[in-house]
């Protein structure tokens, strides 16, 4: 396309980065294979086709449901204004980055056999609703809470960014609520859908503890569990690499399919003030959707807050180890958020600067590296690499966590920043060319201010991911280095479930604060710079 500004540097930087990430994954697998030489290669006992079939069904259902629920929720939140709306948005957004275990237990304390709903139902009607939280329905429920809320947050950001001018035109044409969605909203959302769908599919495809906890056991499991068993139980490293390669191949196919769908320019502009209210029936539907979602999504999280704050918060706060863990978590979170921003910007700007299909696909792939490669394989590979570099594993642990968390957040960051960056390149490319702006000026004067809010959402996402995740340093041996999630899991492993629920509540609060605060803060800074 002629309208794209000529940016060879951006493309080169993105290609270099993509190659570096691919090389890192290759190195990780190679390190494990090298360590595996000599270990007996027993024939794999895992029925891979069966696993793939089961997992694909589960992940496919999760994706469709999450996108449908996410769209409905984003639509409602975009239209409705009410006190505490920011808090509700923050709560929904925090679902994706809350450790899966926490969400699962929150879900159970609402919907479980001994949960609020059952207790209410027994008190009012004397009957139990049974136990809907287990089995395939339980897995789907938990996944839709995690992924549907995430989809809603991303889609809401797109809807909120629809320019006021377009809304004004629509309003003056007297569009109905449905026409408004179909003509104004949907074209904006479409550009984000393939990327979102790919992420959600991969999250569900590789989901492990939730599937095991709520799925009822080995009947509902994922490839990831087989890989875990190969590494842990059988110590069959070559087998683990084979399984990991299978998972990478499947995930790559999904990613390719998603990238092959043409990108659709998304709208850009300052967020519109909510002046256009839909007709009464539509508003009623929106309120209903929101109420249902709050019941389904927010209640489990609220119960986590409730449990945590009710139990032993004081004794936890009195412990110095808690403050050390909190400080490490904040440092790690901030460092990974910044690293993620740099990585995502480089990749997304390079991608936005080219119209060449295969190249765009190539630049999109590395973003998903962490989702495709099982955490236990990454953990093992990083451990071996760090040792080969001659660094003590415990010393390297914080850096590995930062890098791993950035890679983990990268696909989400790309989904947040990619579509608006491309929209800028497409819609303002001609202007940028005719003004003869340099790449740097384009970034500082055009992209940065327009992206302010998206950068904020992305930073919040990356920050919170890293608040919640610690899966990758399983082997590193870290006595002094402790983050909040690690402390939480240690407490859970020593009967201290009160401490664990208090930490879970604090993590959740931190997440909500980040999601409410960071987008506003960054938007303000970005606009002030202009």
């Amino acid at each position: 396309m002629l309208t794209l500004p000529h940016r060879p540097l951006r493309i080169a930087a993105a290609i270099t980065l993509a190659a570096a990430i691919a090389a890192l994954i290759a190195l990780v697998l190679w390190a494990i294979l090298a360590a595996a030489t000599g270990s007996g290669s027993s024939a794999s006992r895992i029925d891979i086709p069966h696993l793939l079939r089961m997992t694909s069904i589960q992940a496919g259902l999760t994706t469709v449901l999450s996108l449908a629920v996410g769209t409905a929720l984003a639509w409602s939140l975009n239209r409705l204004r009410f006190p505490g709306r920011d808090l509700v948005v923050g709560l929904f957004a925090s679902a994706i980055v809350t450790p899966g275990m926490v969400v699962a237990f929150g879900l159970l304390s609402i919907w479980g056999r001994n949960g609020w709903i059952n207790q209410l139902s027994e008190a009012l009607f004397g009957v139990s609703i049974g136990n809907p939280a287990f089995g395939l329905s339980g897995i789907l429920f938990a996944h839709v809470i995690l992924d549907g809320a995430f989809a809603a947050r991303i889609l809401l950001a797109r809807l909120d960014a629809i320019p006021a001018a377009r809304l004004k035109t629509g309003q003056s044409l007297g569009l109905t609520a449905w026409q408004r969605f179909a003509i104004i909203d949907w074209p904006t959302l479409r550009g984000t859908m393939p990327g979102l769908a790919a992420i959600i599919f991969l999250l569900a495809f590789t989901s492990f503890p939730i599937v095991l906890l709520l799925g009822g056991g080995p009947a509902n499991q994922t490839l990831e569990v087989a890989i875990y068993a190969a590494v842990r139980q059988d110590f069959d490293l070559a087998g683990a690499v084979r399984l990991a390669a299978t998972q990478i191949a499947v995930c790559s196919a999904v990613i390719l399919a998603a990238s092959a769908m043409g990108p659709i320019p998304t709208s850009l502009g300052t967020s519109a003030a909510p002046r256009w209210r839909d007709a009464a029936p539509a508003r009623l539907l929106q309120a209903l959707v929101l109420a249902l979602c709050i019941l389904g999504f927010a209640l489990p999280l609220l119960s986590v807050l409730f449990d945590g704050l009710a139990s032993g918060l004081g004794s936890l706060l009195a412990r110095p180890a808690f403050w050390w863990a909190a400080a490490s978590s904040l440092l790690i979170g901030a460092a990974s958020a910044i690293l993620t921003l740099v990585l995502a910007m480089l990749l997304a700007m390079g991608r936005g600067a080219t119209a060449d299909g295969p190249l765009r696909t190539l630049l999109g792939m590395p973003a998903y590296a962490y989702l495709a490669v099982p955490a236990i394989v990454l953990s093992l590979g990083f451990f071996l690499l760090v040792r080969q570099l001659g660094i003590a594993p415990a010393t390297a642990a914080p850096f590995v966590v930062i890098l791993a968390n950035s890679l983990l957040a990268l696909p989400f960051a790309m989904a947040t920043l990619g579509p608006p960056l491309e929209a800028i390149a497409r819609s303002r490319g001609k202007l940028i060319r005719s003004l003869g702006l340099s790449g740097w000026r384009q970034f500082a004067a055009v992209e940065c201010p327009l992206l302010g809010r998206d950068i904020g959402v992305m930073l919040a996402l990356a920050f919170c991911f890293s608040l919640g995740d610690l899966g990758v340093i399983a082997l590193f041996g870290t006595q002094d280095f402790q983050t909040l999630p690690l402390m939480m899991f240690r407490a859970l492993g020593s009967y201290r479930s009160n401490d664990a629920s208090a930490i879970a509540a604090i993590l959740l609060i931190g997440t909500i604060i980040a999601f409410v605060g960071l987008p506003r803060l960054v938007e303000r800074i970005a606009n002030a710079a202009r």
Binding site: M101, L213, I391, Q479, G493, S494
Partner: protein, 335 residues
């Protein structure tokens, strides 16, 4: 590039690393699982206790996510491992650990230990034990089953939670327990248990919490789990169900790596670990029985715990030869 990376790492680690220690003091590096080394676990107490008597040494815990993780790490590191000892392996994996050839003989006299079975292991020193058992809450379960067969005969809405034998040691323990009690009838027992199994979790902590939240009637845990609730929470409603078939014990062990250049110090640590001083730390931090008679020093909560009528055993050789097949058998039965 590597040089730069190292420099950058060195500069940056200053932010996180603990203060480095003087070279002359011998440092005993011990790999363990993370709740053992946690601040409320036995790690800090054992460190303080041993450092007070070793005449100027430093104990450094290196905590991986699980005991099997610690073993795998040593296997990956081989001869170059920094570890002097591993603390926290259990009897189900001891045979496999021994077969790696990485462990040295402890050459300690352990005749004074009071374990369910006399201890004869040349490489590994036991430091605590408990029997695998299902725990229940007396508030909701008034008549607990007294055997696997009674459990199977209960209505299907009586739910238990167990762990995946491929990822959690108690999960593997249950597979071995049922085998030890029922031999070739094990698949039949698993098939009978299937309708009662609410879910199979990855870790012990997940299933134990499901049980505490009231989602299941019983969870596979340890005969000593009630001691935590009595001693730390003043709650005596959590009990371990005693089964007539007898129970399998999980004995946690420690061993010295052959590659360690501090064999003598490591041996002293093992002797301390199995001594009255070291053992005093264990019960109320790891919530397991001590391996020697502590008399009045044992927390009274432990005295109230029932002991199984019979302790079942399997040999290392049996476990090593069959555990894979037994796990597959269990997975096939509950699938």
């Amino acid at each position: 590039m590597v040089k730069f990376t190292r420099l950058a790492l060195a500069v940056l680690t200053g932010l996180f690393a603990a203060p480095t220690l003087a070279e002359e003091v011998p440092i005993l590096k011990i790999y363990t699982y993370d709740s053992f080394a946690a601040e409320w676990g036995p790690g800090p107490g054992l460190k303080a206790g041993f450092e007070a008597i070793c005449g100027g040494c430093i104990v450094e815990w290196v905590a991986t996510d699980s005991s099997i993780g610690a073993l795998r790490r040593v296997q990956l590191e081989g001869e170059t491992t920094e570890a002097d000892l591993i603390v926290g392996l259990d009897t189900a994996i001891a045979g496999e650990a021994r077969a790696t050839g990485l462990f040295a003989d402890h050459s300690l006299d352990l005749a004074a230990l009071t374990l369910p079975e006399p201890w004869t292991d040349a490489q590994f020193v036991p430091f605590d034990y408990a029997h695998f058992a299902f725990v229940y809450d007396t508030d909701s379960v008034t008549t607990p089953p007294k055997s696997f067969e009674e459990l199977i005969a209960l209505p299907d809405d009586f739910k238990i939670v167990v762990q995946d034998p491929r990822s959690a040691t108690p999960g593997l323990g249950l597979v071995l327990w049922i085998r030890a009690a029922y031999g070739d009838r094990a698949p039949e027992i698993w098939a009978g248990l299937k309708p009662h199994i609410l879910t199979v979790t990855r870790e012990w902590s997940e299933s134990y919490n499901l049980f505490l939240e009231g989602e299941a009637d019983m969870a596979l845990s340890y005969s000593t789990s009630p001691a935590y609730h009595i001693s730390a929470e003043g709650d005596d409603t959590i009990h371990a169900a005693m089964f007539d078939e007898g129970h399998l014990a999980q004995t946690e062990v420690a061993g010295i790596l052959k590659s360690s250049d501090k064999q003598e110090l490591a041996r002293e640590f093992l002797a301390y670990l199995a001594s009255a001083e070291g053992q005093k730390v264990i019960p109320t931090t790891n919530w397991m029985f001590p391996v020697i008679d502590l008399g009045a020093d044992l927390d009274p909560a432990f005295a109230t715990l029932p002991q199984p009528a019979r302790t079942l055993t399997l040999t290392d050789a049996e476990i090593e030869a069959n555990s894979q097949a037994w796990i597959d058998e269990m997975l096939a039965a509950v699938q």
